[in-house]
Amino acid sequence: MIFHDLLALSSALLLLYLGTRLVRVAREGGPEAALELFTHAMRQGLWLAIIPALCELYIYLGLESRIGLESGPLRMLLISAFVMLPVVLIMRTASWIAFETILGAAAVVGVLREFMASDGFGLSLSDSRYLALVVFATIAASTLVVRGAVTGWGRTGLGVLAGLATVGGAVSFFSVTDFEAACFYITAAIAVGSGVLILVSDKIVHMAFWLLASLAGFASFYLLLGADFLGFTQVLVYIGGILILFLFGVMLTQRVDVPLKATSSLRVLIPGIVIGVLITGLLVFLAGGNNWSEKAAKDIAQIGPNAVKAAEPTAFGLGEAFMSTYILPFEVVSVLLLVAMVGATYIARGKSEGDSADGADGEGGVA
């Protein structure tokens, strides 16, 4: 597994490197320079495609060794090589970013897991989730605090109040005793509180920060629900990818210190808000009030003989599912990513060679 992890880790590092380069260039040379670098990196990224392809091959081989060389798996390998792989490989050439992030997440999980397995901290496996949870909760909470301290406590205070109200309400109603419940309510406070703050912030950069906190909260939820891989993916893709993208968007298009305009007419805004609140109320009502079919209590109990199984890392199961039940979505998403990337680079790229018509037909084009 170490080979896989190393490869994936290296890709993740590369990504990190690119990200920092981009930020630095953007700060020094302005948005255009960053965009140019971005495009450049995209083009250069082709060679990187070999990494996920190798990883995939490695996963196949890993499966092979585990189940012994029988005819089925062997044929699967052959088919992969002759039918799927060429297609998959070329598809991946373009969609490396997203896959790197996923695999990078796998790497982090893997390292963490190996570390636990070697009894490094003397923690049991099931504790790893709590550890991660605490880490993220701390990140989110400190963001909250730091932002409050830097930009004043006006709106921040509102979010904190909302969060505290949740926690307080929960504590008073449920007499929280155990650790998991505590984690849940803290996370809920972070996720919902920052959500409220996104809504009430009047600067786009603040919104992005609160989005970060909210998304981190969701990552914690995933961990709480036993989805460790998903939690890390959430962090890597959302916080490491999408959010950075948003910040880029903000940097390139907006003056960050100017307050945002609200919807132009109140005639639209007020009914909109009323409807939005009503829908929210309805959904909350339904979510909380339904007699949803639930698993027997013993299955979801986190203690007892099933505890270790329940806390198992999900990466292996996911990998297996990707290669069997979910093989089609797995392949289709690569086409989707390819299309999205081709489209994004095509639409966002400036005037370049082989595109002479662009300058001519822009009515409102800004030079």
Binding site: S71, I79, G289, F316, V332, G365
Partner: protein, 531 residues
Amino acid sequence: MFDSGLLASAAENFNAKEFGVMFEHILYSVSAFTSELVLVAFVLGTLLLDLVLPLRVSKHLAWFALLGCLAASFSGGHGGHSEEGLFLHMLANDSFAAFFKQFFLFGAIPVILLSYVSEQFDGRRMGEYYGVLLAAILGAILMASATHFLMLFMALELLSIASYILVGYIRRDRRGAEAALKYVIYGSVAAAIMAYGLSLFYGLTGSAQLADLANVTFSSDHAVWSDWTLKTRAALTTLVALVMVFMGVAYKMSTLPMHFWAPDVYDGAPTPVTAFLSVISKAAGFALTLRFLAALPVENLAPAWETIPWIEMMIILSIVTMTFGNLSALWQTNLKRMLAYSSIAHAGYMMMAFVILHSTGVTGAQALGFYLLTYLAMNFGAFAVVILIENRLGSVDLADYQGMGRRAPLLCACMVVFLFSLIGVPPTAGFAGKWYLFLGVIDAAQNNAHGAGLSTWYYVLVFSAAVNTGISAYYYLNVAKEMYLVDSEQKESLAVSTLGKVLVAGLAALTFYLFFGADGVLQNTQDMVFH
């Protein structure tokens, strides 16, 4: 580190035999999936070829893409049907899916040709365009065959993302950019709402399979069924989930309440893309919705469904959609916007297919499939004429069409055919299409296909559609009026490429063929079923 205890235990749980069976199934699925693989190969081929070809040849990638559609169409997998569908319940392998696969591949051909003859793209690299277009077709095909929430959502997103790119393909065109922005923003919202709705269904049924929708339950053994409020709430949740999912697909179908994007986006997008959106994208939405609704219990077997009046909802939405589309189209002076509203109205007609899903005579699938075929012929035809004239005039204003009947006799004669077909006058395809829809609805009304109380609803529906046909005549004829009945000083004839003429004439011929040859076409769609 390699053989950690955890992995070892996981490997022990791994059942090689089960895996072998699953693997056989995947092999089987791949063999039934050849069209799509060929399509993917051509997507990549188009993108890669564009890297090596010089700019002036780039335009001719259209022929390569066309070849791709034909190749995919002819390499269709075996028609066999398996209980498990394809890829372990991800896709259906039924005649409905097969029909739509061919429909989309066939429908892509006019789109490609329209793009080829259109001069809006001149001087531009077209590799990305055709590549993305083929990927959109792939998305549409998957939408028509998806039976798993994830696949369904992903197929929808694939088509959406590809469409966003196509709409904004002319980058520095302000109108195009605005259209793309509106499309992507509203589209994302619709998709996100749909995802939430799907998640609710997932919770209700405990399964992500469409086939399990009938199993909507709200209780396990410890249920409190005596509590009526709980029961009402359960039905309400189902309703909310259904509405949310419908919002997502309604966006693709451009029916109310998710229609508002259509006029702006149709107007701003390059005209061939508008044609694409109005036919292919819409058809994909309809195919998906039909499959979704077909999965709902027929005889209201599931407790939660019995209180969901979804047929009545669909009837009302259908009426409102067609009336809105037609009334709004009346005032348009821009041909593209007019066709946008007209396409909303036609979406309203097509929604009639939803309420006759389980009819005995003409089933919803059959009527919809046929209507879409006729719509393909006539709408692409109308857009072809618009594009060819736009090439010369640079305008899609109705006022510029004055006296066009003399300047471009063939185009306008064909346009008249398309317009009359859009109204639904025999002997054109449009009439045949409406005919089968009406036939189905009246059949359902007469035979109480969906319960006795619905007859009146059906008659109201079909009557509204009839009145709407009358309304629609006004604005369609308005175009014919400008072309033929109004004289203009401009007399010189328009130079139209031979390919353009052939394309328009071909579509006009198809419009007639789908009326006179409707029998043969319908025999083929008669056994269209869901598995």
